[in-house]
Symmetry: C2
Subunit: 665 residues, 2 copies
Amino acid sequence: MGSRRTLVGGSGPVVGTVHGELVHACAQFGGEVVVRDRGESGARSSYDLVLRVAVAGDSGGIGPGHGGVGDLGGPADVGELGAEGFVIERADETTFVTAIGQRGLLYGLFHVIRLGENAFRGTRAREAHRPSTALRMLDHWDNVAVHPVMGQVERGYAGGSLFWENGRARQHSERVRAYARLLAACGINAVSVNNVNVHETEAHLLTDRIAEVAEIAETLRPYGIRTHLSVTFAAPIVLGGLTTADPLDETVCGWWAQAVREVYSVIPDFGGFVVKADSEGQPGPFTYGRSHADGANMLAAALAPHGGTVHWRAFVYDHHQDWRDRSTDRARAAYDHFAPLDGKFADNAVLQVKHGPMDFQVREPVSPVLGALPRTRVAVEVQATQEYTGQQRHACWLGPMWSEALRFRPDGEQHPSVGDLALGGLVAVANVGDDPFWTGHPLAQANLYTFGRLAWQPAADPHRVLDEWIALTFPSASERLAAGLRAVLHGSWRTYERYTAPLGVGFMVQPGHHYGPSVDGYEYSPWGTYHFADRDGIGVDRSAATGTGYTAQYARPWAELYESAASCPDELLLFFHHVPYGHVLSSGKTVVQHIYDTHFEGVEEAEEARRVWAGLADLVEPAWHARVAERYEEQVRGAREWRDQVNSYFLRKSGIPDARGRTIY
Amino acid sequence: MGSRRTLVGGSGPVVGTVHGELVHACAQFGGEVVVRDRGESGARSSYDLVLRVAVAGDSGGIGPGHGGVGDLGGPADVGELGAEGFVIERADETTFVTAIGQRGLLYGLFHVIRLGENAFRGTRAREAHRPSTALRMLDHWDNVAVHPVMGQVERGYAGGSLFWENGRARQHSERVRAYARLLAACGINAVSVNNVNVHETEAHLLTDRIAEVAEIAETLRPYGIRTHLSVTFAAPIVLGGLTTADPLDETVCGWWAQAVREVYSVIPDFGGFVVKADSEGQPGPFTYGRSHADGANMLAAALAPHGGTVHWRAFVYDHHQDWRDRSTDRARAAYDHFAPLDGKFADNAVLQVKHGPMDFQVREPVSPVLGALPRTRVAVEVQATQEYTGQQRHACWLGPMWSEALRFRPDGEQHPSVGDLALGGLVAVANVGDDPFWTGHPLAQANLYTFGRLAWQPAADPHRVLDEWIALTFPSASERLAAGLRAVLHGSWRTYERYTAPLGVGFMVQPGHHYGPSVDGYEYSPWGTYHFADRDGIGVDRSAATGTGYTAQYARPWAELYESAASCPDELLLFFHHVPYGHVLSSGKTVVQHIYDTHFEGVEEAEEARRVWAGLADLVEPAWHARVAERYEEQVRGAREWRDQVNSYFLRKSGIPDARGRTIY
């Protein structure tokens, strides 16, 4: 804020946070903050920045000369701004941020921070900003008790849990507070604090250990973040001592209603539940012959009187599949389970759908479920934690991938995008932990930020978002540093794709931990994740004509595009079709030569990124630089391992040599 | 013993055990036992059985009419009987067992028990029995503290540890006493009580926790069993606070000497140390630029004054191998490391060599190390715990495999066998735990028994040993039961071989836990365990002419036999040669058809064994029968999984269909 004078208008806990942020900034950089509750007056010319919460008809004497928000006009009408929107404009040497809700003011403040000096230059026509969806959420897969196999954070690559330590909620919440601030700056407003796989200890968070959740909620609340909880569907049995968890059983419904009442008695703004049911061993309504709508609606009914939401995950499939059976297709499962239930879910039930039909692979088509339930509130789930994309040891900026998914139009070009359809919100599996750099790989912070900003505005250009992240992370970044960061991040997702599983086929990872290559690692497993490579060809026939029929789950333009190997986009070819190694891609290369080429290129790109990063040593704080440099060593090693294993596998299998005669083992 | 009268002559703790065994038997079956120390006299006709410890020249008034052992004559001369041998004969309605040492008497007693009623029929010419080697040992890979990955017992498939529970030695030693008795009945006389991978907690057993080892030793001693300990080579650093563990450093030698003195002060008959050094991450002399002879001799020197032995494992290889490098051959490693050290080891240092060059696969050639160190005391190590042979969920009686190895003659037919050469003893990795059936799979008890008996007499016919086990385990076994047990066990090793990795190629197991198939599981790993299958062929070229040169580690007859794919035995072909799938075996089948056929046959054999076992339900104690039946379900399931994965893998890779048109996926 420099040495500027700022006026904060409004009151309440989140306004208090805005004020606190400004006081903190002034303590650091100079300047002055004045708080004025509604009704008081002040000379407007004496402030460089005015942030205020307004109500309809309240002009408050502050504004660029045309009254209060009552006449904001157009898309910035009061009603449309909502609780989180804000208006920004600059006139007469004062920058005005006006919001209807306290949270809007907080987001307005962070917007000013993003603008930096530009916020205080010349004049600025009024712009209204509001999030595309009311729910922008992080799901933490954190365990309270360290799991013997999955550890403290399931699929966590950033140290321990931010919330849980030594078997209970962290006692000193400074780190959690800092985290809440970080999330608010990204635009995130909801956090689920425990793993969707709810183990025994964690089940109790719902009841006798709710006070610990309340402690966390207390810390998150001033930053406009509501707290959610993952619960086990079997809670009435596990915690309540009932003999059933049947969602149509009155005693069960009563048990949930009472449990929810008690949750709200200690967390009045509790967000709701996240539920992974009938999935990978978790209990669910199928046990009782009930549908997933029955299950979700029971919880929705318990939450509704209090304003809570149930997030019901659509990640339901047979994880005891027989690899011999080529007719069963895991990619079909979510659609087959949930599309018939459209219109049957309660208003406060959100169906949370992974962006792809499988499981966060580096390349998947967009899930057909996202266009298949027009009468259901759907949330899109992405995975910020890099389970299948380098586990925060490899740099892999996922912005372009998420953006592609969010801009996908399930019904064709003239129809809404996934981002438009995600009325239930955008959710990311969190990638943070108690690591000093938050995300293990410092560059993975960009994924967290990008997710938050895309959740706010799914149509945003991810490259612009990345530039924001660069400017916020390195406030005095030279153009050389910014260019270097762009160079190593812009293409990093494609680079990771090049040296790992080719052409959308997915997996080929080491079983269990999912790090590093194992081409056949899941080929004969019960997990439904196969590539079917033999000496002649590779890929999964998911066509309607000769395959599993998965393509028919898409609306016409996409169903037609994917149905034929000739029209299917190269990058998804092996997801949809089994083709000979000699099949010629639209790129003009054969499949096997594409595999060789991309794997050599991917390694070269990783090596180049390492080189670029090394050249930035004089511009980045040494510890930060060293951590990234160390990760690049591992990335290059890992990329070479991927290259050599994948290339050797296909040379051994196909017998077709590399056209360029490079070394394949 | 029926209701017979028995005289026990001699004194001492192990004689006390003999007496106790007889008293126990009489309490159960009737009869009477008299103890008479040397010098006393008794009417010999009044006893059915006389067991006595004799000394040279002592006729003791007891014997079949030709005086004491002083004139036993021939191979049964006093000196040759040794501490563990005994003579048995029957005349004038009395059976005489005479030994020089107390342990000999104990083994004589168990011999009488094995003979059963036959011991008391007619007359019996004197037979002298003595073990082929003085050291018949079980190595327990038991951890004191449950290891986060490896559990309580590393590669243990029979529950928890018999020795360690809740982080310390078991308090109630009845089970350990029963175990000691079981081992003595098998002829085992040495036990190492902790894992060769010595973790932090277990390192302390050598010093501040030696009292717990002494407790175990106390329980084992009355059954003639000496206790050994696995120690870490880094003990002087880890426990002693020294800055080095250099075996040529005087302070280090002094530290070990003092540590050993303290061990013997509490365990006067302590057996010695087992050491896994410079192996799979364990510390060793290489750190200090010293040889393994230097390392072993330092410990041998510390143990020598007290009569202890160091067992130094030859399992040293590079476990960070690059799979791309086809010139490095793990099979060569033990020979390359140890053959040059022949003659350099102290007398009380034993080089403990795995029977095969790799790691306890279902089929390996005999290790060339076993014939390569004529001036070194070598022990042969086998693995009773079924790490790679079905993990005690599959029935796999290993007697024939061990017997083949022990009867192998490294220098050719006119020369000594491995059993003859194993002057340092026979060692098995234990397969027991606190499971109620001792070994998880009740039929795996046969492996324990067979090991003990082969250790006593390596040339013994394993099928005769199995019959002993059947008779001892089912004292009233009908011929139908005995025939059924033979039917399910005799061929079980070959059955397991048929449905797992073919033709000696090894591995193809799931990484880490090693249970179940994964054909490429270790193919691109750093462990040196590859099959090099491509679309044309499979196998490892270990020939001297074109391969790794491993065949040249054998003496001439074997080197020549293995060098050529034409003469190499079928069952080892892929261990020694890389051949096309169409290569015709001496069986007349192609390699790929052999793979298909054996995998179908193996499953059929497992199904047949399950059927045979089901037919024995009326003859076996229900819980025992049910446990085995349950294991057969899993074995059949597992065998089918092996069959289908292996067959599919090779069909996909070779493109050659099954000649008999069976289903391959």
